[in-house]
Structure formats: structure tokens, C-alpha cells
């Protein structure tokens, strides 16, 4: 008995020694390869970027929860392969933070080249976090992409300022987002107020007459957090405070009206606020089942999209608030240790092309609003956008109402924490 254990230990110790040796060799090798391949592409010399990109494989880490978006990315991959010899592999994430975690783990392990992530679909908190930790390919490259010349920097301030954080060319815009609300015209949603709700204050009143028919995903789900930001923007007395990082001393006063409104809303939420829909698609399902009567999305085309995919009845229509709703831009970024930086640059540039952007805005493909300025396009390119049928349930750009910009990410962190303390801790 004793001897078996001893011999086990000897075997183990021998293995441990061999293991340490292997570790040392592996580390030595990775340092050597670091010296060999550390040549960052220069986006100012685009021809050399395209040349370097040929034959590279770009691992594009992007949320994989929507089949139509996955199909669009697959299409972009086929085009990139054919035109530039770049292979695009879609790494389907259930949460973008997982890709951030991968880069963090690589930095922890000292893997400063040859990283697993080449391109990330990103914005807001994740971008702020990666920028602050120095995890992004720099200096800024996005404004040196050839297709940057079409980008609507003039009218869309969220393209250069992501959640109040200057992008500084560290991420390239991909699409736009704006909060819109949906209702089903089969149900008499206007009965309670004599009209559709026109603010979150109206929603509180509406829910009093229709208890259990409205809800929002619990933060930190980003759609749920976006709803909280909408309430914050509507209730705060001085919006300029939201442009700065939150100060602990002021937080309680500034956020007090937000939580007053939530306190008034919550008793009439779906399940009385004791459970929340998991995410946006779960809200769609609940609307299709007739559990929720008003839901909201962050893409104006979502309702038409859901109808086309049999997820919602074709009687659903969109509406928005005349006082404005939250809007932002989503981007692609390249980690500092990406293996295929040239390929990632070529992919980012292709995603910005009028052709790729017009296809993306087609509601039968994805329906994601473009980041390009129509005035900067030539007639053929503009015609592609104008020919798009946005779908029966989609509001025209002129009907979308004013856009309220995102607060500094630190506000969301503070609000999510306070939200959890008040409503998410089983009191």
C-alpha cells in the first residue's frame, strides 16, 4: 500500500520535472517567434497592407446569436476570400466580453504576438475597457482606411465618440443603433392613454392600466441597460453631467429620479419584476406568445426582420418617442496582439464599403443602419441604398426622432450596481 503511493509520487515528480522543462522550452520558443514576426502593417501604405493580407486567416470574434447576422458575416467572408485572398473565420460568441477575456488571458501569459483574436465586434464598455488596458492595435488606423472617406462623421457624432470615449481611430464603425418600441396593432395598445406611450413616464402610466404586459431584460444585458439609460436621460436634470465619469458623491442625487421612476414602474412589470426576460430575442418570443404587449429593440429594422422570420405576427409596428431615444454606433477593433493585422484591416475596410453597407441595411439580410453619408457616395452607390425596401414595420429615418447619445460607461456600471442592490438581490 505504502509503496504504491510512493511509486505514484515518484512517477508524478518525474512528470512534473519533464513538464517544467517543456514549459521553459515553450516560453523560449514564443520569445523567439516574437522577434521574427513583429512587423505591424501600415494602413497609410494600403497596397502593402493588401499584399500582406493575402493568404491570412482573420478570426473575427462576433456575437453569434442571430442567424441572419451570421449569414451576413459568412457572405463577407466569401467576398473577402475571392477579392483579397483573406479567409474570415467567424468565432461565434454569446458575449463579446469573452473575446476581451481571451486577450486579457493572453496578455497575462505574456503572449504579445500571435494572439487568437484578430477582429472584434465591439462598442461601449468593452471598448472603453480594452482601450484603457492598452489591449488595442494602435496608433489609430480606422481613419486611414480607404473607405473612411464615405463615413458620416459630420452627422453621426457617435462614430468618433463611443459612449463619450473618443475612438481615436482605434475602432472602425460598422453600423448604427437606435432604440425603437414595438406594439401589435391587433391589441388596443392606445386605449390606456388615448395614444401610444411617448416617454418612459408614459410607459409607467400605461403599465398601471396594463399590468404584467411590459418588461425589460435585467442589466447587465445591454438591451436592459439601454432601457435604464433611456430613463436616466429622460429624468436627469443636467445631461452634461452624464458626459463626465460618474462622481460617487453626486451619484445618488443625479440618479434619484431614475430610481423613483423605476420604483413606480416595477409593481406593474411582467411577473411583477420578480423575473426578467433574458435578452432581446426572449422579449420577441414573449411578444409572439402574447405575454408582453410593448417591447423595444436597438435596431429600427428588428420588427420587420422578426416578421420576415415568422417570429412576430405581421401586425406588429414600430414607434418611438418625440423627445428622443438612445442611439449609438457599433464598431470593429483589432487587438494589440492580433496574428493577422493586415487581414483584419482589409476586412474592416471591406465592411465599410458602400456595397457591404448597403447589403447590411437590407432588412431581408440584416437591416442594420449604415454609418455612411449618402452625400459622399456616387449615384450608383446611393441608388443601392435608395432601392432598399425597409419593410412594413420599419420607421423611415426621418420618423426615428432625435438621438440621445450614450452616457459615460462609468454611469452604467454605477447604475447596474445600484439596480442589482435594489431589485436583483431578493429583498
Amino acid at each position: 500500500m505504502k509503496t504504491t503511493q510512493n511509486s505514484h509520487f515518484v512517477v508524478w515528480a518525474r512528470r512534473a520535472r519533464a513538464f517544467k522543462l517543456g514549459l521553459a522550452i515553450a516560453l523560449g520558443l514564443s520569445t523567439a517567434s516574437a522577434l521574427a514576426s513583429d512587423k505591424a502593417p501600415n494602413p497609410a501604405d494600403w497596397a502593402s497592407v493588401e499584399k500582406a493580407a493575402k493568404g491570412q486567416t482573420v478570426y473575427f470574434n462576433a456575437w453569434g446569436g442571430a442567424p441572419n447576422i451570421n449569414d451576413y458575416i459568412a457572405w463577407a467572408g466569401r467576398e473577402l476570400k475571392q477579392r483579397y485572398g483573406v479567409t474570415l473565420e467567424h468565432v461565434k460568441l454569446d458575449d463579446t466580453a469573452k473575446a476581451v477575456a481571451t486577450v486579457v488571458a493572453e496578455k497575462t501569459a505574456g503572449q504579445d504576438v500571435g494572439g487568437k483574436v484578430d477582429l472584434i465586434w465591439i462598442n461601449g464598455e468593452n471598448f472603453a475597457s480594452m482601450k484603457q488596458q492598452g489591449l488595442l492595435f494602435s496608433p489609430g488606423w480606422a481613419d486611414q482606411l480607404p473607405n473612411w472617406s464615405f463615413v458620416d462623421v459630420e452627422n453621426k457624432p457617435t462614430i468618433t465618440v463611443d459612449f463619450t470615449i473618443p475612438t481615436e481611430g482605434l475602432e472602425s464603425p460598422w453600423g448604427g443603433a437606435k432604440m425603437v418600441f414595438f406594439h401589435d396593432t391587433v391589441r388596443d395598445t392606445q386605449k390606456a392613454l388615448g395614444r401610444l406611450p411617448n416617454s418612459t413616464a408614459d410607459l409607467v402610466e400605461w403599465a398601471k392600466v396594463n399590468p404584467g404586459r411590459f418588461s425589460y431584460p435585467a442589466p447587465p444585458n445591454f438591451i436592459g441597460s439601454s432601457f435604464l439609460k433611456q430613463v436616466l436621460l429622460e429624468t436627469v436634470t443636467d445631461r452634461s453631467k452624464l458626459l463626465q465619469p460618474v462622481m460617487e458623491s453626486e451619484f445618488e442625487t443625479v440618479a434619484a429620479p431614475l430610481f423613483d421612476r423605476l420604483d413606480a414602474l416595477h409593481p406593474n412589470l411582467w411577473r411583477k419584476g420578480r423575473a426578467y426576460p433574458k435578452n432581446y430575442p426572449a422579449m420577441v418570443q414573449l411578444m409572439a406568445d402574447g405575454e408582453l404587449e410593448i417591447i423595444f429593440a436597438f435596431n429600427p429594422a428588428e420588427a420587420s426582420n422578426a416578421i420576415a422570420q415568422n417570429k412576430l405576427p405581421d401586425t406588429v409596428r414600430s414607434f418611438t418617442f418625440s423627445g428622443g431615444t438612445l442611439g449609438n454606433t457599433h464598431f470593429v477593433a483589432i487587438p494589440y496582439n492580433a496574428s493577422a493585422k493586415a487581414g483584419a484591416l482589409v476586412a474592416a475596410n471591406f465592411l465599410l464599403s458602400p456595397e457591404a453597407q448597403a447589403r447590411k441595411q437590407d432588412p431581408t439580410v440584416w437591416g442594420d443602419p449604415t454609418v455612411l453619408n449618402m452625400a459622399k457616395l456616387n449615384d450608383d452607390e446611393r441608388a443601392k441604398f435608395e432601392a432598399l425596401d425597409l419593410g412594413i414595420a420599419t420607421l423611415r429615418p426621418s420618423e426615428l426622432g432625435p438621438m440621445l447619445p450614450e452616457p459615460h460607461p462609468s454611469w452604467m456600471t454605477a447604475i447596474e450596481k445600484e439596480w442589482t442592490r435594489r431589485y436583483g438581490a431578493g429583498n
Partner: protein, 562 residues
């Protein structure tokens, strides 16, 4: 012979090294040390922050409570069902009915259950509007209830088939049939006779599996997300969220939470040990009183009905899930979709090849290696007579007791260090860590309980140890060996967190695809992937069941019987 001699050391390395390396890389940040994130000093700060998290006590309590209740219900139901009905024709039928359930991944079963019992679920549709008068689902809190009852139900439906299978594997090693006749001739009820005499012998053999159930239930993530409470969630769910939060400072709190999770799981096991003593004491006092408890009809029927309902619920849930995968628009309270559409399947088929091949390869290699190692260890144990004692048991327990969330993130950092990240070798290795214990657990009890007199007879006839193994022991124990293989494969297919983290998204399996796509919450997509997740291991189980029946079709005692 040299392979046999090396096997135990090799197995221990596989079981222990990854867990220890992963734990180490979790413990350091839990105490504030993680240089890449600016943590260079040691402190208790992460633990202070953890304890200051709102509702943390409730989250921890939920994990503990639900793990114990799940295990208690599952073990009791299995004991009563086997005790009350073993040897009857309805038992054999139920057994055939239940065993495919084992191959259904937890997440798929949980979705199936949700599709049935939700206010908009199939059960409510069955009775609406003609009986309930409802044309819209009621605002009832059934799923995600704050006490975690739906989650407990979701765990019980998966743990009962698992425990039933290990019980049935252990049963032939007891003289249950003779004991039954004896106790019944003395006037004991069918159930009480079984519980007093046969069950303690069985329980001794399946105890490891019961412990695995407790550890799993206390730290499960996917089922808890689908069915569990959210205000607040269980500890495991919350710490997974912290570990993947955009705010990188939360990694420290997550690491501290991972250690708390470890403590909680150990506490649940400790409480279970107390419950075991309590159960023994009750049984002892009943026996000492000489109570025969012959009128057990109601309890037996209850066990039968509960087990049958459970199986029915899961199967109809899975059927509804399959129907959703081909559904057009499907409104409440319609019993069927307004149209059928294969769009979701067509879309999925375009991208399925890679993940499918990876799942088969990783699962196949890991399971084959695990079964080979387990057989070699057990054979060596038999030949040398040295079992390794309780210390060897701890090695096997380790990956099952240390919750995955506690060490997998750390393990990823470690693999990065040695350049193994996102390689097939690392993937097979990490699957092996989880597959090997289950294979060993399923195999060792029937193996050790094998009657040694067969060996004596064979040795007396001049058979060598190798011949004894190939001609007598392996054929006699082929059924548990194949079941162990199938269990191992099912475990591999079900692995989510390790596959996702160590594959770095470059190696995806059916399960990582399923979870990523079901993040979208689309019932049609969930239907497709849950169906596929379920079919792969099921095929292996069918093979495991068919092979001995085929090989030994002319030997009644080795083939068909339980």
C-alpha cells in the same frame, strides 16, 4: 505489463495536474495578484468586495439549498422506484423508457421542460382557451422563480436517469433477488425489504455518483441560466458573469467567488454526510422496531407515477422542441404552428460540418483513452491487490468536486503559458479530465464487486492473468464497460465552459455552437441544436446497449437481464 504499471500514475496526473494548475491561477487573483490587470499586491480586497456584492448570501444559499434538495429528491425517487418495482414488467418498460434520457444534455432537457411548463408552454396550450378561458398566457411566475424550484425540477429530471443507471449497474453485484424472497417471506413489504437489506449494499457502490450529483448541482451554470432564479442568480451563474464582465476589475471578485463556490460545494457534501447518518439512523430504528411496512402500495405507486411523469414531461418537451425547430409562426394558444419551415435546419446544415467533426473526434479520443486507462488501473488493482485506498478515491473525486467554474479560467491562462491554447491536444486533455472520473465511476463499482470465485476457477484451470482478463472478466463486464464508454462520450459532448475557453473559439463543438446560438433565445434555433446535441450521445448509448445483447444473445445471464 509496463502499460499496466504506468496507468495509475498517468491517470492521477490527468486528474490532478490540470485542476491544481487551474486552481493556482484562480487563487492568485482571488488574493489580488494578477499582474496583467495591475494586481501586484496581496490583499483580501477581492473577498471584501465579494461579500459586499448585493444578495451574495442569497445566491450562495440558493446554490447550497438547490443542490441538496435536488440530490435528496433524486436519490429517494430512484431508491423507491427500484425498490418498489424491480423485477416487474412495468419496471423493465420504464427502464427502456428512461435510459435514453441519460444521453440528453442538461441544457436540452432544461429547454424541453421550459417549453412544457411555462405559462405560454405546451401544457397551458393544451387546456386553453377551452378550460382556462385564456387567450393570452397568464402572468404566472413558473420559470426562474426566486426559490429555484423550476431549476431543481430541471436538475432532477436529468439526475434520476443518471442515478438509476448506476443503480442498475450495481444491482447485479448484490443478491437482490434472494434477499427479496427472504424479506418477503418474513412479512416485509416489497419496498421496506429492499430498503433495509439491498439498498445499503447498492448505496455503497453508487455513493461516488451521488457525490458527483451534489457537486454538479451546486455549481451548474447552463441549467441555472435557463430555469434558475435571476433576482439574484445562483453563485455559479453570477461568478461566470463576473469572469466575463467588460469591467476587468471584476475578474478579481470572480476569482474570489470561484473559491467561495469551492467552499460551498464542500459544505454541501459535508451536509450530505450528515443526512446519510440521519438516514441510517432512521432505517436502523425502523428495523429495530421490527416494523414490516407491508402496506406500501401507495408509496410504490407514487414512485412509479412520479418517475413516469418525469420521463413523459421530458420526452414531450423534447418533442415540442423538435416541432419548434420546423415551426413557422406559432401563436398562443395554438397547439401547432401555422406552417412548417425547414429554414432553420437549412441554415444550420451549412455550418455544421466542422463542429460535428470536432465533437466526434474530441469525444471519441477522450472517451477511448479514459476507458483504456480506467480498465488498466482496475486490472492492475486486481492483480496487485492494492486499491490505492481513500487517497486514490480523492484523486478521482477531484475534478468532480472542484467546480468547473473554479479552475477552468485559470487553466486557460496556464495553457497559454505553455503554448497549448486552442490545440486539439489541449482540448482532448481537458475533456479527459472530466470524462475519466465518470468512466471510472461507472466502471469501478461493478468491476470491484465482480465475484472473484470465477477467477479462482479459471486460475485453477491454468489460465494466465491475461487470458483471465480477455476471456472471463472483460466479457462478463462488457456491459458496464460499454455503458462507461457511452457515459464518457455523453459527458464530453456536454462540456461547454472548458471547450469554449480552451478552444478560444477556434475549436467549436455542437455544444458551444448550441449555447452561442441559443443566447439569441430563438426557440427554432434551440430546437435544432438541442436535437443534435441529444442525438449524438444517444447513438452511442444505443450501440452500448446493442453490442452485449448481440454478442451474448445465446447467454441469458450476460445479455438481456438488468
Amino acid at each position: 505489463m509496463s502499460f499496466l504499471a504506468a496507468a495509475p500514475g498517468f491517470a492521477i496526473a490527468i486528474l490532478v495536474l490540470p485542476v491544481c494548475c487551474g486552481l493556482l491561477a484562480t487563487i492568485l487573483p482571488a488574493f489580488g495578484y494578477m499582474p496583467a490587470l495591475g494586481g501586484n499586491t496581496w490583499s483580501l480586497g477581492p473577498f471584501e468586495e465579494l461579500l459586499a456584492m448585493p444578495g451574495i448570501g442569497r445566491s450562495a444559499g440558493l446554490s447550497l439549498f438547490s443542490a441538496l434538495i435536488t440530490t435528496l429528491i433524486s436519490v429517494t425517487l430512484v431508491a423507491f422506484f427500484v425498490g418498489g418495482w424491480r423485477g416487474t414488467r412495468s419496471f423493465a418498460r420504464m427502464q427502456q423508457f428512461l435510459s435514453p434520457l441519460l444521453s440528453v444534455p442538461h441544457a436540452a432537457a432544461a429547454f424541453g421542460l421550459a417549453f412544457m411548463i411555462a405559462p405560454s408552454g405546451f401544457l397551458m396550450r393544451l387546456f386553453s382557451p377551452w378550460a382556462t378561458g385564456l387567450d393570452r398566457p397568464p402572468d404566472w411566475l413558473i420559470l426562474n422563480d426566486p426559490l429555484g424550484l423550476a431549476m431543481i425540477a430541471g436538475l432532477v429530471i436529468k439526475e434520476v436517469p443518471f442515478l438509476l443507471l448506476v443503480t442498475l449497474a450495481a444491482l447485479p453485484q448484490t443478491k437482490a433477488g434472494q434477499f427479496d424472497r427472504l424479506t418477503q417471506s418474513m412479512g416485509y413489504g416489497r419496498l421496506s425489504g429492499f430498503l433495509f437489506v439491498t439498498w445499503p449494499q447498492i448505496y455503497r457502490q453508487i455513493r461516488l455518483a451521488v457525490f458527483a450529483v451534489i457537486a454538479y448541482a451546486s455549481s451548474v451554470v447552463d441549467v441555472a441560466i435557463i430555469l434558475g432564479p435571476s433576482t439574484p442568480s445562483t453563485l455559479a451563474v453570477r461568478l461566470t458573469e463576473w469572469m466575463s464582465d467588460a469591467d476587468l476589475a471584476l475578474r478579481f471578485v470572480g476569482s474570489a467567488g470561484a473559491l467561495l463556490q469551492l467552499g460551498l460545494t464542500l459544505m454541501a457534501l459535508a451536509i450530505w454526510l450528515v443526512l446519510e447518518r440521519f438516514g441510517r439512523a432512521v432505517s436502523h430504528s425502523l428495523r429495530a422496531q421490527g416494523r414490516r411496512l407491508a402496506r406500501d402500495g401507495a408509496v410504490r405507486w407514487f414512485a412509479m407515477v412520479a418517475t413516469a411523469l418525469l420521463a413523459l414531461l421530458v420526452f414531450s418537451g423534447l418533442a415540442v422542441l423538435a416541432l419548434w425547430s420546423v415551426a413557422g409562426f406559432w401563436a398562443f394558444p395554438d397547439l401547432a404552428p401555422n406552417a412548417l419551415s425547414f429554414d432553420t435546419w437549412n441554415r444550420a446544415s451549412l455550418s455544421l460540418g466542422g463542429p460535428m467533426a470536432n465533437t466526434l473526434f474530441i469525444g471519441g479520443v477522450a472517451t477511448a483513452v479514459a476507458t483504456l486507462l480506467a480498465l488498466a488501473c482496475l486490472e492492475r488493482e486486481w492483480r496487485t491487490g492494492r486499491t490505492g485506498g481513500s487517497r486514490a478515491l480523492w484523486f478521482i473525486y477531484l475534478p468532480l468536486i472542484v467546480p468547473q467554474v473554479s479552475f477552468v479560467f485559470g487553466l486557460k491562462v496556464f495553457f497559454l503559458l505553455i503554448g497549448w491554447d486552442a490545440t486539439m491536444a489541449a482540448m482532448v486533455l481537458v475533456h479527459l479530465v472530466f470524462v475519466l472520473p465518470y468512466v471510472f465511476l461507472s466502471l469501478s463499482d461493478p468491476w470491484r464487486a465482480w465475484d472473484p470465485r470465477y477467477a479462482s476457477v479459471a486460475a485453477g484451470l491454468g489460465a494466465s492473468p491475461n487470458r483471465l482478463f480477455w476471456r472471463i472478466r472483460l466479457p462478463m463486464l462488457l456491459k458496464p464497460a460499454l455503458v462507461a464508454l457511452a457515459v464518457g462520450f455523453a459527458v464530453s459532448v456536454g462540456q461547454y465552459l472548458p471547450t469554449l475557453l480552451l478552444g478560444s473559439g477556434r475549436i467549436s463543438t455542437i455544444t458551444t455552437e448550441a449555447v452561442a446560438l441559443s443566447a439569441g433565445g430563438d426557440r427554432r434555433v434551440i430546437g435544432v441544436y438541442a436535437f443534435l446535441q441529444m442525438v449524438l450521445p444517444f447513438v452511442v448509448f444505443v450501440i452500448a446497449a446493442a453490442v452485449p445483447a448481440l454478442l451474448f444473445r445465446n447467454r441469458r445471464a450476460m445479455g438481456g437481464q438488468a
